[in-house]
């Protein structure tokens, strides 16, 4: 009772400056046990505090109040509302002092929202939560995958996509990273931005891992399908940078997908459809049937694209024959779609039923193009700087120096390349 009141007064008093805040933090940590034991603590006590000014204290109290077990639907709804308001209005500085707590609070929030089967309520709060907890835009937080998961459940892909536009360069927990990339990949597929999806899924598939985990497996399956849709080529071997465990085992667990990939390479629509039908139960189980259908339709596009390399004009009927479409009407539809998507440049002459393929009109002479090139150059320079910084920090890392010093004989650097000082030898 009184201790709680004391606590609240100290929260109200000490939330002003950073010095006070660290003192407050210590007090709160100490008082945590007593708070949990206090059965009289109610949600109403929170009304005494202002979430934006007293964020740290509010956080602790909220955590104690809401981490309890299963609640009734009304209580859960109330709690959810409370947490949402808190997240939107809290002070980022104060939160970062107790980021673990904040993260676990948000995770609890997410679970409640999912229980209530109303993921949409959670999307906006979690989005702002991610922004507040992030130390830098380059760092992955534990909240990223949760936020993406909610976006997926709520089907608001645009919101999720806004998070994905950050470049993540530093990662703490591999599992967070895998989930982030996997969910991120799915969101990009939803937005039809296959390039970015490919990137994210590629990161999971080639991430260093000792043994294959389920996330990587699912990601690999989607990766195969997205490669087919985006670039139209499939190779069974993983890129060399993938871990040996992945290279050995991923394929054995995803045989239907590699079959689809191999069939796609052949280029025959009817065979591909036969393979898809044969394995449709597997695809359904993995929820990938939609993606597989997209891959099949992309084969038509791939074949038509190949035709543009060889022909200047072609009749719609010929296109239909060569690509194994049913009739000229369907061919016209496909070609029209591709022109609209910007995948080919062509003119359809409906009178003759002829399609005339044109060259890419981009001349690379406009100022927009120069801006594009300039931005690419700037990015590359930025990345190189990052890379050099990373290299420098690694060469000063005592662990690294110790290891190289110990194994100096094994590496046989010779006089010129030995950059590790002698004092690190065994």
């Amino acid at each position: 009772m009184s201790s709680t009141e004391n606590l609240i007064t100290s929260i109200q008093g000490l939330s002003a400056s950073s010095g006070d805040l660290s003192a407050l933090h210590r007090i709160l940590k100490g008082a945590e046990e007593t708070l949990r034991a206090d059965s009289d603590l109610q949600l109403s006590t929170l009304d005494q505090l202002d979430p934006s000014k007293h964020s740290l204290g509010y956080l602790y109290l909220l955590d104690v109040l809401t981490c309890g077990g299963p609640m009734s639907k009304e209580k859960a709804s109330e709690v959810v509302l409370l947490i949402a308001r808190f997240i939107t209005s809290c002070d980022a500085e104060q939160i970062r002092l107790a980021s673990d707590k904040f993260v676990s609070l948000c995770k609890g929030f997410k679970d409640r929202v999912l229980e209530l089967e109303d993921p949409l309520r959670g999307v906006a709060p979690l989005l702002s939560a991610v922004r507040k907890v992030q130390v830098s835009t380059k760092r992955l937080t534990a909240l990223h995958p949760d936020c993406l998961q909610l976006c997926l459940q709520a089907k608001c892909y645009k919101a999720g996509f806004s998070i994905l536009s950050d470049d993540i360069l530093e990662v703490d927990q591999p599992r967070d990273f895998y989930l982030y990339c996997y969910y991120g990949g799915m969101i990009c597929i939803g937005q039809k931005k296959f390039q970015k999806a490919l990137e994210l899924l590629y990161n999971v598939v080639t991430a260093p891992m000792h043994s294959v985990n389920a996330i990587a497996l699912e990601a690999y399956k989607k990766y195969v399908l997205v490669t087919l849709i985006h670039s139209g080529q499939f190779s069974v071997s993983l890129p060399k940078c993938a871990s040996t465990a992945a290279q050995r085992h991923l394929k054995t667990w995803s045989i239907p997908y590699t079959e689809v990939g191999n069939c796609y390479n052949e280029g025959k629509i009817s065979e591909l459809q036969a393979v898809v039908v044969a394995h449709s139960s597997d695809f359904e189980k993995d929820n990938n049937l939609g993606l597989v259908k997209q891959a099949v339709s992309s084969l038509y596009k791939r074949n038509i694209l190949r035709l543009t390399q060889k022909y200047l004009t072609l009749s719609l009927q010929d296109i239909a024959n060569m690509v194994q479409l049913a009739n000229a009407k369907e061919a016209e539809m496909h070609v029209l779609q591709m022109i609209q998507d910007g995948q080919i440049h062509a003119l359809i002459n409906q009178k003759d039923g002829m399609v005339r393929f044109l060259e890419d009109p981009e001349q690379y002479k406009t100022s927009e193009m120069i801006e594009v090139m300039d931005s690419v150059i700037q990015r590359t320079i930025g990345l190189s700087k990052n890379l050099i910084a990373m290299d420098e920090s690694l060469s000063c890392d005592p662990l690294y120096l110790g290891k190289v010093g110990r194994e100096r004989q094994r590496y046989d650097f010779g006089e010129d390349f030995d950059t590790v000082p002698q004092k690190f030898s065994m």
């Binding site: 703490d172 991430a207 390399q309 060889k310 072609l314 003759d352 002829m354 990015r379 662990l399």
Partner: protein, 442 residues
């Protein structure tokens, strides 16, 4: 058949040009007409004559007369030698169809076998006595004789082993060359062309300059080896370098007509235009060979002067006989295919636009068939063009270098971006794991 008057016309030409050479008075042997087996067989001697005749007999399709003719000549030839295995073989294949004179002569077989046994015994004794005497030269001769003996009997691997054994007892360069030539001969008969190449190299490494005929023989052998290994360009180069002094001296392996045919066809299939002119058409030495097979000469000239229709006609007429050649038969299709592709490419090269119906006439095919062939060549990037299927015209299309460069640069920039970021992420993950592990250890 108009082929007849053309080839006889050519023959007239040859007679007036050739003059003294004996071979030029004969009709061209490798030509568009059905093969004259006797004339063909007379080009060769030794074991290869028999093998070639047997090959013709087994590959001449349903042509009974040709088959029987070949088998008859083979029988006669085998009886002159000492190979009873081949004799039995040929008798089985004749199967009594040629009458009494050409049936199984067991008496002959037995006597040959007996003689062989005796000879073998004698050679063994001689060899062992030479060995005890340790005279290098005689041991070498002994092994050589053994090699010859086994070769005559048809036991090729033993013959090879013995020839190779003489290597340790060779003292002069001449001996080494002798050994190499024997080894090459046996290897060709056995069909092991990798050995052929290695022994040719060994002989050519000889510090002394080789006798020109021997050098020519070695080039022929090496050309054959390359041909069998499907390295047509190298084979062509070797055959084109054979000096005309070869004449008939390598009949136990190859005839000069073969040198001309193989060299000409391989060159046509694999050389580019400048090399074709320099090494084949302007090659004075090779001209003598080409005189022996005027159809090949004509078809090369036609190809060079872009008379594709007649070139392809010659090729078509030669095909049947080339399929009967023991070395060339499994390469005929590939070579023809390559020659046809080259013709198509060369046809389209100088033009900005080509009317497909005229081209189809030149190549004696239909427009749709031609379209398919061209499509394949465009996909392989051997023709830079595009087909206007509506008007049936082929337009040359030259890639815009500037645009292509820009595109490539942008693409490369994006790829670099992606790869570096992935790499940094992976490094980060590894570092985290390393720290976690180090943390645990401490």
């Amino acid at each position: 058949m108009e082929r007849d008057e053309e080839s006889s016309g050519l023959m007239m030409e040859m007679c007036t040009n050739g003059g003294g050479e004996e071979t030029s008075n004969r009709r061209p042997i490798i030509s568009g007409e059905p093969l004259d087996i006797e004339a063909y067989a007379s080009l060769y001697k030794g074991r290869t004559k028999i093998m070639r005749l047997l090959f013709i007999a087994s590959h001449c399709g349903g042509n009974q007369t040709m088959q029987l003719e070949a088998l008859r000549m083979a029988y006669d030839e085998i009886k002159k030698g000492e190979n009873t295995q081949l004799f039995r073989d040929v008798v089985n294949r004749i199967n009594g169809r040629l009458g009494d004179k050409y049936k199984m002569d067991s008496a002959w077989c037995e006597s040959v076998d007996r003689r062989a046994e005796q000879k073998k015994g004698r050679l063994e004794n001689e060899l062992s006595s030479y060995r005890t005497n340790l005279i290098k030269e005689s041991i070498r001769m002994g092994h050589n004789d053994f090699g010859d003996f086994y070769y005559a009997c048809g036991l090729l691997s033993d013959a090879f082993k013995n020839y190779v054994r003489t290597r340790d007892y060779c003292t002069t360069a001449k001996h080494i060359i002798h050994m190499c030539m024997n080894a090459i001969l046996v290897s060709i008969e056995m069909g092991q062309f990798t050995h052929v190449s290695s022994y040719v190299n060994k002989a050519e490494q000889n510090p002394e300059t080789l006798d020109p005929i021997v050098a020519a023989k070695l080039r022929c052998a090496s050309g054959l080896a390359h041909l069998e290994l499907k390295k047509y360009k190298l084979a062509a180069r070797k055959f084109l370098d054979v000096s005309p002094e070869l004449g008939n001296s390598y009949n136990e392996v190859i005839a000069p007509q073969d040198v001309a045919t193989y060299g000409g066809l391989c060159a046509l299939a694999s050389f580019d235009r400048s090399e074709l002119k320099a090494k084949v058409i302007d090659n004075i030495n090779f001209r003598d060979f080409l005189e022996l097979v005027p159809e090949v000469r004509e078809l090369i000239n036609d190809f060079y002067s872009s008379r594709y229709a007649s070139c392809l006609e010659y090729l078509g007429s030669l095909r049947a006989n080339l399929l009967l050649d023991i070395h060339l038969h499994d390469h005929v299709d590939t070579l023809y295919d390559q020659i046809r592709k080259k013709a198509l490419i060369q046809y389209t090269l100088p033009f900005v636009s080509v009317d497909l119906s005229r081209m189809a006439d030149a190549f004696k095919t239909s427009v749709s068939g031609l379209e398919k062939e061209l499509e394949a060549l465009i996909t392989d990037n051997q023709i830079q063009a595009r087909i206007d299927s509506h008007n049936k015209i082929l337009y040359a299309r030259h890639a815009d270098q500037r645009n292509a460069t820009f595109q490539k640069v942008l693409q490369m920039g994006n790829e670099f971006d992606r790869d570096v970021r992935s790499m940094m992420l992976r490094a980060n993950l590894l570092k985290h794991e390393y720290h976690a592990r180090a943390g645990r250890n401490h």
